[in-house]
Each structure stands twice: as structure tokens, then as C-alpha cells.
């Protein structure tokens, strides 16, 4: 392998370690359990969403609705528990259903109605952003809130539900690993195995690379595409559940950055290990990268707008890694 091959393969991993080293020196307290917990927590939710969008990228699509699916799921969880006074299980099931249904509708719009993926999911995003505010007329949901009809909502978040966001497992240091991180790891492993080792995953890549060839090889292309959006929707709703559990209420103002961070993570994933294609491992590393970057910058007291700027720079660099350096041709 030439130097360039090495650069393509390991460039981003080196960059990741470099970043950690830099923050360790430059930002006081970066190397501490608290900061690790914070990074894990922020990585978890973005990561779950990013894994979902990875599935749609694999089939050659894109899902812009993930952020709004997550916030809708969060609002729905709060509504189910606080207003309808149901338990945690019901809340979780409702959220997952919302994710699956939105995914199905996205898939249907794209596959059968032939709406281009970006437009269909953008439309869905607007729709959900509005829809999630209708039941409470735009108010956040918390125990004791006054409903539009004047009644007071007295339900509350179940302990089991809150534990999803707040419980931490011991790992060498007590209280280190939040539940959400475990969820992320499990989902990452699942989707990685699914994409790399099962025939369904393989076919999804084939659909993304040459749809007609996949069809002539016997694949039900339409079904695969719809499934990809269902996976994306369900993963996004899991992200929403984790978000609701962490906040403990249905906060209308949170989750604004979810879409962009998740998409950035998935696209950075293209560059990891020179994969040059959407992949689960890369996406997980990408999410970690984004998480570390944000935490580091926060601890260095960088204002929020510089964070967006730096994120953008990193994304552009990652894309250059993927598309320019590994570009074939002039050999």
C-alpha cells in the first residue's frame, strides 16, 4: 500500500486520536469521568439516529425526517405518560410505532409515489414539526401543565422510563456508562452485523449501487427501500425515547441539532477506514468524533456558533477524504 492508501484508510482514526490528545492538553478537565459521561450521552442519541440514516444511505436514499421523528417520539412519550397517564411500556411502544409508521409513509412516498427522497422526507419533517405541537397547542409537556381545555395533566414520567436516560452502569469507575450508550452499542452491533453479514444487508448495498442490477438479480427492490426507511424511522424514534428519558419532559425546543449532527456522523463514516460507502462502524466512529468535538469545544468555552463552524469544517474534510483522495482514475 502506498502512503496515500494509508492516509485514506487511517487518516480519520488518526485525526480522532489527535483531537482527543489536543483537547486533553488544551481543555482542563477533558480527561475526566464527567466529561466522558457527557460525551457518551451526546454521542448516544446522535449515534442512534445516524445509524438509522445510514440504512437509507445504503439503499441510495436519504432521510431528512429523522430529527423530527425523534422529537415527535419525545413529545409522544411525554403525552402518553403525562396526559394519558400510561406506563413506560405503552410510551415506548407508541414511540416505536410512530417511527415505523413514519418510515412506512416515507418509503411509500418515495417508492410508489416517486417523490424524490430528499423532498419526501423534507415534507415529512415539516409535517411532523407541526404535528407534534398540535395536541398541546405548542406547549412543552411536563407534569402539572395546564392543557388547552383548562384541565391539569397529572401523569408523570415512570421511573423505569427515566432510567433509560439517567441510569448509569459501573464500568471500572462507578456510574460511568449511561443506558443510552448501551442501547447505542447494541444497535450499532445489530446494524453492523445486518449490513455486513446478512443477505438482506448485502442486497441493500446492491440496491444502492445499481438498482436495476439488483432487481434483475431477483431482489424485491421496492420492499428493500421501504424497509430502509422503516429502520431509519424506528431508530430515530428510539433516539427520541432516549431524549425524552434524559430530559424528563417533552421539551418543544430541544433536538434542533439532531438531524445535522446525525447526518454529519453518517457522512464522516464514509471516510473511516477508507470505506467510501455508508457503513455502521464508520457511522459510530463518526458520532464519537462529533461528540468529542462538541464536548472539547464546550470545555474550551468556544461559543456555540464556532461549534457549528468547526463541525462543518470537519464534515467537509471528511468528504474530501472520501471522494477526492480515494477517487480512482489517474492511478
Amino acid at each position: 500500500m502506498t502512503l496515500r492508501d494509508h492516509a485514506i484508510r487511517y487518516g480519520f482514526i488518526v485525526l480522532l486520536f489527535g483531537l482527543v490528545a489536543y483537547f486533553a492538553i488544551a481543555a482542563d478537565g477533558f480527561v475526566s469521568p464527567q466529561s466522558a459521561v457527557f460525551i457518551f450521552q451526546s454521542v448516544a442519541i446522535t449515534g442512534v439516529l445516524a445509524l438509522g440514516v445510514t440504512a437509507t444511505l445504503v439503499v441510495g436514499g436519504f432521510d431528512l425526517s429523522i430529527g423530527s421523528v425523534a422529537t415527535s417520539a419525545m413529545m409522544a412519550a411525554a403525552y402518553v405518560m403525562v396526559v394519558l397517564e400510561q406506563n413506560a411500556v405503552v410510551a415506548v411502544v407508541v414511540c416505536l410505532l410512530i417511527g415505523a409508521i413514519v418510515g412506512l409513509i416515507n418509503g411509500w412516498l418515495i417508492v410508489y409515489m416517486r417523490v424524490p427522497d430528499l423532498l419526501a422526507t423534507l415534507g415529512m419533517m415539516f409535517l411532523l414539526v407541526g404535528l407534534q405541537r398540535i395536541p398541546t397547542e405548542g406547549r412543552s409537556i411536563a407534569t402539572g401543565m395546564t392543557m388547552p381545555d383548562g384541565s391539569v395533566a397529572n401523569g408523570k414520567f415512570g421511573d423505569a422510563f427515566l432510567a433509560l436516560g439517567r441510569h448509569r452502569f459501573d464500568f471500572f469507575i462507578p456510574n460511568l456508562i449511561p443506558v443510552s450508550v448501551v442501547v447505542l452499542l447494541v444497535l450499532a452491533l445489530l446494524i453492523w452485523f445486518f449490513l455486513e453479514y446478512t443477505r438482506f444487508g448485502r442486497m441493500m448495498y446492491a440496491v444502492g449501487s445499481n438498482e436495476r442490477a439488483a432487481e434483475l438479480a431477483g431482489a424485491p427492490v421496492k420492499a428493500y427501500k421501504i424497509w430502509a426507511y422503516v429502520i431509519s424511522g424506528v431508530f430515530a424514534s428510539i433516539g427520541g425515547i432516549l431524549l425524552a428519558a434524559r430530559l424528563g419532559r417533552g421539551d418543544i425546543a430541544s433536538g434542533n441539532n439532531l438531524l445535522l449532527d446525525a447526518v454529519a456522523a453518517a457522512l464522516i463514516g464514509y471516510a473511516v477506514l477508507g470505506a467510501a460507502k455508508p457503513n455502521a462502524f464508520g457511522t459510530a466512529v463518526g458520532a464519537l468524533f462529533v461528540g468529542i468535538l462538541l464536548q472539547g469545544l464546550t470545555m474550551m468555552n468556544a461559543p456555540y456558533y464556532t461549534q457549528d463552524f468547526v463541525k462543518g469544517v470537519v464534515l467537509v474534510v471528511a468528504l474530501v477524504f472520501t471522494f477526492a483522495l480515494s477517487g480512482r482514475g489517474r492511478g
Binding site: Y197, T198, R199, F200, R202, M203, Y205, A206, G208, S209, N210, R212, A213, A214, E215, L216, A217, G218, A219, P220, K277, R328, G329, R330, G331
Partner: protein, 503 residues
Amino acid sequence: MVGNAVFRVEGLRKSFGRNEVLGGISLELHSGQVTVLMGANGAGKSTLVKIISGVYERGGGTMTLADQDFAPNTPAEAIRAGVVTVHQNINDGVVADLDVATNLTLDRLSGKGVPTLFNPARVRREAKAVADRMGLAIDLKARVNDLSLADRQMVAIARALAHQPKVLILDEPTSSLSSAEADRLFALVDRLREQGVAILYISHRMSDIRRLADRIVSMRDGVISGAFDTKPLDYEGAVNAMLGRKIHLDQIVARSSAKPVLTVEGLRIGLGARPISLTLGDGEVVAITGLVGVGKTALAETLFGVRKPLTGTMTMNGKPYAPRSAGDAIAAGVFLVAKDRATSGIVSGFNIERNVSLPFLKRMSTLGVLKRRLERATARRQIEELSIVCRSEKDEMSALSGGNQQKVMVARWMAQNAALFILDEPFQGVDISARRDIAAKLRASANGRATLLFVTELDEALETADRILVMSEHTIVGEHRNAEVDLDRLLAEVAGGPLHSAA
């Protein structure tokens, strides 16, 4: 001869990684002559062409154009200098999302001295001039995406010729053209030859070569292995030089079959077309020939379940057969090597191994989990079986020569036993010896299934099949046992002769 070479290549080298593809090529092109370059699949022809046309950097050697050093860094530079190329992968030569008119004038839309504003009327006028000069009968407003491969090929060629080249390079230009279109191309090449253009022509079709060649240069494994320029040209010698051995042709002993596998009755595949009835037997190899556009691909796709017939029934091994998707067909044991590998066969993101296993993932997995070892073993076996030139089963498809990519497509579907094996133009870009090889393998393994080939080239049908059917206007108009074929009748049927002679 030495004095009048307009274009000269000396000691040209090229390696991909450690793999040396060109080992010092020297070649001369003379103005007003067609030099045919012959070479087996993977010999390095397209690589040579890509260096000359500025797509690849060379690894060593020199090139001169009219005694001036010629070292294009980009394709645009080569074109400006008058060295114009139509590549083997024609999708490189056209912009799929634009219409034909824009494609034909594309190169005038950029560069120096071009008005900044895009003037659609002028574009259409210029495009019409280019198209007329070539006798191109294509709707100039059509999007290239919607054209057939043959039409796209003509657009790519027309676009190249719009430049008034000094040197013209055609890399397998006829591999997807019908004979009528090929004739038009030949006439054009004749005209350019008269105008003094130096032409390098690459093809695996002997009929093209016989028709056009003034000189033949053979290459093998990245070096020149023979040059022939005394008339009459020694075609056999050229083939032997490119292969490094003599090629022998086994005479086909036409078999007939007693046991029907597929019976088709009253199948109508086009509005107004007469119904098709045919029976394919076990162990039999049947070729359907006919011009491009007479419905061969439509019939293949109908048998494979990706296109619905208007009317008609099919029976496979005694059971009704009405596939509603490719998946259904494959489950019933009907396999199709589809035409035009780049659009309907190759998954470019996958390596050879994954391309080979694609249709059979279900059979190669337990509970959905792929058996990777089986997958690798299958790919290795198929590479061996069809003598695919590659470093390993992990090679990307883009690292294979065109003919070897095609062999991967055939290998994919030969990996498992079929009940009905359909191949639509399976020899596109495959060299003579590999073509005979594949034909022999098809015949040797024919027992236990019916084999149906769709080929435009009559030679390919004669070399491979037991029975030859002729298609015209979306129906079958003639049938011949491949023993004493009445060629006159057959050719008349191909040309759409009197239908009352039809079977």
C-alpha cells in the same frame, strides 16, 4: 512506411500497483489508414487508449503527434490537439442527464472564445449539423438517459467526430450496434480515412476487422506481438499472434431434444405484434437472432418475468409458468444474463466475488447470514471456469477489462444450475477465444436445462446453437436447424423479408 506516421507511441509503459499492464508498447498510426488493434480480453488495449487520450498518466515512454511531443494531461487537452477517442465504456462519452443536442455540442460549450450565454437555438442548429453529417436519426430533444445503448453509442461517436480529429480512436464501437448502424459507422470511417484521418480501431468482431483494416497490430499481455501490413492481410496470423496459439473451431453437431422444458403459446410482446409460440427442449441450445430493436430483449425480459406479456401462456416442465418478477423466475430456475452489463448487471460498488453471488444470496446463507466461505469458493471456481483475468476474487469490477467484466456476468449465472438459461448478448466485448470457450461450456453443460441465446451477430448464433430462430417485428419469423442452414433465407428473414415464409 516510416516517414508518414502522424502519431507515434514509443516504449509506453503502465502499471496498476504492482501489476504491469503495458510493458513497452510501440505503435504508429498513419494518416488515411485504419490500424486495427487486436488483443485478448485484458491485453491492455483500453489502457493504452486511455493513456493516449489523457485519461491515465503513463508510466513511461513517449508519444508524438506530427513530430511534436504529445503529452496530454487531461482528455480535453488531447481533444484540442486533435486526438479524439470514443471509449469502450460509452457512458464516459455522454452526459446522461442532458439531451442529445447538448451532448453533441458539449465540447463547444466550454473552452476559449465561447460566448458565456447559452443559446438554445444555436445549440440546436449546430447539433443538427453534426447529426446530419453522420446521418444520425435520433430525436435531438431526447434525453440521453432514455436512449438505448446503441443510440447512445452513436451519440458518443457523433460527438467525437464533431471535432474534426487528426487521430480518431474507436474502442469497440460496434459491440452494441446493430449491423445497419455498424454499416453507417463503417461508411463514416471510410470517409474519414479518405480525408486523411489516422484511425485506431479496436474490435473483437472479425467482420468489422475484415471490412475496415488497412493494417493490423496484435498485442498480447501488454506487448505488441505482431504487426501485419501487407495485403492481403493475414487475419489468421493476427489472431494467432494475439492469442499466442492457434485457435481451432469445433464444428457444431446440431442436437435435437425430445423433452420440452419451456413451452410458450400465443405470447404477444408488443402492440400489434403477432403472437409467438415456441418450445425449448432439454439439452438444446437455441439462438434467437434479429436486428437490434426487433424485440429480442423484450422477449428475454418477458420470459424472465420483468415484463408482462399482452397475452399468452407459458409452461415450464409441465407446470404453468407465469413469473411476476425476476425473483419468481429465479426461484423457478430461470436465469437471465441481461444485456448491457454496465446498466443492468454490474454492481460497481461490489468486488468480483459479491457480483458473482448476487442472485444466489438466499442459497448461500442460513437464516439470512451469509456463508462467506462458500461465497468465496464459488467465486474462485467461476473465475477459474471462465478464465477471468484478475488478481483475485476481491478485485473491484472497475479494475477489470471490459471483456472480463462481461465474463463475470456470465459466470454469475453459470454458478448454479438453471432449468432455463437465457443469455441476452452474452458476448458483448468478449474476445474470440473466450467466446468460443464460453460457447463450448454452454454446450457442454446444456443437459438438464434449456438454453436460449439472444444475439445480433449471426456468426455467434452459428457457432453456438443447435437451432436458430429469427425475430422480426416482435415475433418469430423463421426457424433453422444449425446443420445445413439456408443462409439466404435466414438473412432475408432477418432483414424483415416476406412474412409468409414464417414458421
